[in-house]
């Protein structure tokens, strides 16, 4: 079988591979090369060594600011999303009436695309701020908390569903044994529930982390970086470097390479923790 199948490579693999090369592999390799060049279109690239990378870390560039803003945003939203999602999941696994309805409602915002989400929340947040006579572009703080709010609205339902699945896997006997031993609710949470949903916590933690870290659409629609470029996160900063002014494409590409390395590091850490967990269990 293997031998016959092997001859079918052109039918089974070639179409996917062709699309993969055009959409991903070739652009990826070219992207790495171009980050060491100065170019406006791909064909007029001139090798400039590490110039682009040095440029990123000079005082006038927004990259480090965007990095710091992204890290702050990622930390805050990862914590808030997971705490809220976990609490809702706890409530929704108590066998209350209407559980199914609540689950459906809480999950729904997750299906709406980032651009649409951004404009929905722009309306709401500007509505509140208009009382103060300003809008979301007035201060980077407003943009920051606006993004946190939006992200919570979008991701809480999603994470909640994963937590619910984890909570439902815990056997009833654990809880019965605990209540016979006279454990108080907080003790049950700490010594039974939390350790047993640890796999779900790892998954949700990293999902929120990477989602927030790579966020683009929501950021673009809600603030577009305003005021100035103060609320641009990394992905938006890269976009603005590429398309904001002619001549800085090389710098944009170098930023993209650094962004890729950071995301790859996060993925590596995630893999390490997921593997470790598998060994433990």
């Amino acid at each position: 079988m293997q031998k016959t199948l092997k001859r079918y490579f052109p039918i089974f693999v070639a179409p996917t591979l062709l699309a993969f090369l055009i959409a991903f592999a070739i652009p990826f390799i070219m992207g790495i090369y171009l980050s060491f060049t100065k170019f406006t279109t791909v064909t007029n690239a001139q090798f400039v060594g590490l110039y682009n990378y040095k440029q990123i870390f000079t005082a006038g560039d927004h990259f480090l600011h965007a990095l710091w803003f992204t890290v702050k945003f990622t930390v805050v939203s990862t914590i808030t999303v997971n705490v809220i999602a976990f609490c809702l999941a706890l409530l929704l696994t108590k066998g209350l009436r209407g559980t199914h309805f609540f689950r459906t409602v809480f999950f729904m915002p997750n299906l709406i695309g980032g651009i649409v989400l951004g404009y929905i929340w722009q309306l709401i947040i500007n509505g509140f701020l208009s009382g103060l006579g300003v809008d979301i572009t007035y201060s980077a703080n407003y943009g920051f908390w606006g993004l946190v709010l939006l992200t919570n609205w979008q991701l809480v339902g999603y994470m909640m569903i994963i937590y619910i699945a984890g909570l439902q896997n815990i056997s009833k006997e654990m809880y019965e044994a605990a209540s016979i031993d006279g454990a108080r609710p907080m003790q049950v949470l700490r010594h039974i529930t939390l350790p047993l949903v640890m796999p779900s916590i790892t998954i949700c933690f990293f999902l929120t982390l990477t989602n927030s870290f790579k966020m683009f659409d929501q950021n673009y629609a809600l603030t577009a970086g305003a005021p100035g470029r103060e609320t641009s996160m990394l992905a938006l900063d890269i976009f603005q470097t590429f398309y904001g002014s002619v001549g800085s494409e090389g710098i944009g590409q170098a930023k993209a390479v650094i962004f890729f390395i950071l995301v790859a590091l996060l993925a590596g850490i995630q893999l390490y923790f997921t593997r470790k967990r598998e060994v433990d269990v």
Binding site: M1, L5, L17, A23, G31, G113, D217, A235, G252, V263
Partner: protein, 279 residues
């Protein structure tokens, strides 16, 4: 007595959850009633319901649909999403099965190449990819499908492979004895068995492609606008935008998603969870 205490707790929890549910739906409700208000009555007082003088009926919807050509945006979105998902399902499942059955060094390298692409953020390839797409004349609603097949391959091949490994070889051997060639074997024996994971993969890709903004904007955005690109286009300059039309278009952008969700929420939720846990 204990029962009573429990039921009071349950009431409190239900009231609390209802409040949270209202908070979750409220933003959309606010956009909805603002979409019936005149464009100059929205930004300053978004929380005020339409009154006799601010109510403009469906005028915002008419304006918006004309300004961004919503009907064709909907058509492009639907066309691109459907055919890309179909293409991804077909090509990725075939590739995944082949790669799990024919073990050579090249194939293993390819498999890891696909997985690797999952961790690369789009910004890394967006510039070069859109230039190549331009060069190859892919800047149309058909060409972009090829790009989606390439981008979707990473996650889809990975998830199909995980599932394909669990298919018992005995089934395939039986088919071989019956004289099936690999193509017949794949479509008659293997693909039907892959169906559960295929549904998950279809949902994950459909959600991604339907809502995707950057790829269609960069590749076909000047000529063919999908819904997210059209909504963003409407925003235009910060000062000049028509808030009424924007509200109306947000609602029109949400309706297809809500309808889709209402009909298949079970498979959407389980699909998204399966994707999260495996990916």
């Amino acid at each position: 007595m204990i029962l009573k205490k429990e039921s009071i707790k349950a009431v409190i929890a239900t009231v609390f959850l209802s409040l949270v549910a209202i908070a979750f739906v409220l933003p959309i409700i606010i956009v909805l009633f603002n979409s019936f208000k005149g464009q100059f009555y929205i930004s300053d007082a978004p929380f005020v319901l339409p009154t006799k003088e601010t109510f403009v009926g469906i005028q915002n919807y008419i304006n918006g649909i004309q300004k961004i050509n919503f009907i064709s945006a909907f058509g492009y979105s639907l066309f691109i999403t459907c055919f890309s998902v179909f293409g991804i399902l077909l090509t990725s499942s075939m590739t995944a099965w082949y790669l799990t059955r024919v073990k050579t060094r090249v194939n293993t390298a390819l498999y890891y190449g696909f997985i690797f692409s999952m961790i690369v953020p789009f910004q890394m390839v967006m510039f070069t990819m859109s230039k190549i797409a331009n060069l190859l004349r892919l800047e149309n609603p058909v060409g972009i499908i090829l790009l989606y097949i390439g981008f979707g391959a990473g996650m889809s091949v990975f998830m199909f492979s995980g599932f394909a490994r669990s298919i018992p070889r005995a089934l395939e051997e039986a088919a071989e004895i019956d004289g099936c060639n690999p193509l017949q074997m794949f479509f008659y024996v293997v693909f039907p068995l892959l169906k559960p994971i295929a549904i998950t993969i279809a949902i994950l890709n459909a959600m991604w492609i339907w809502n995707d903004y950057l790829l269609p904007y960069l590749v076909i955005g000047t000529k063919y606008r999908t819904i997210p690109v059209a909504v963003q286009y409407l925003q235009g300059g910060y000062g000049s935008r028509d808030m009424g039309a924007l509200m109306a278009m947000l609602i029109l952008a949400i309706i297809p998603i809500v309808v889709f969700y209402a009909f298949s929420q079970k498979s959407i939720i389980s699909g998204v969870v399966a994707g999260a846990v495996k990916g």
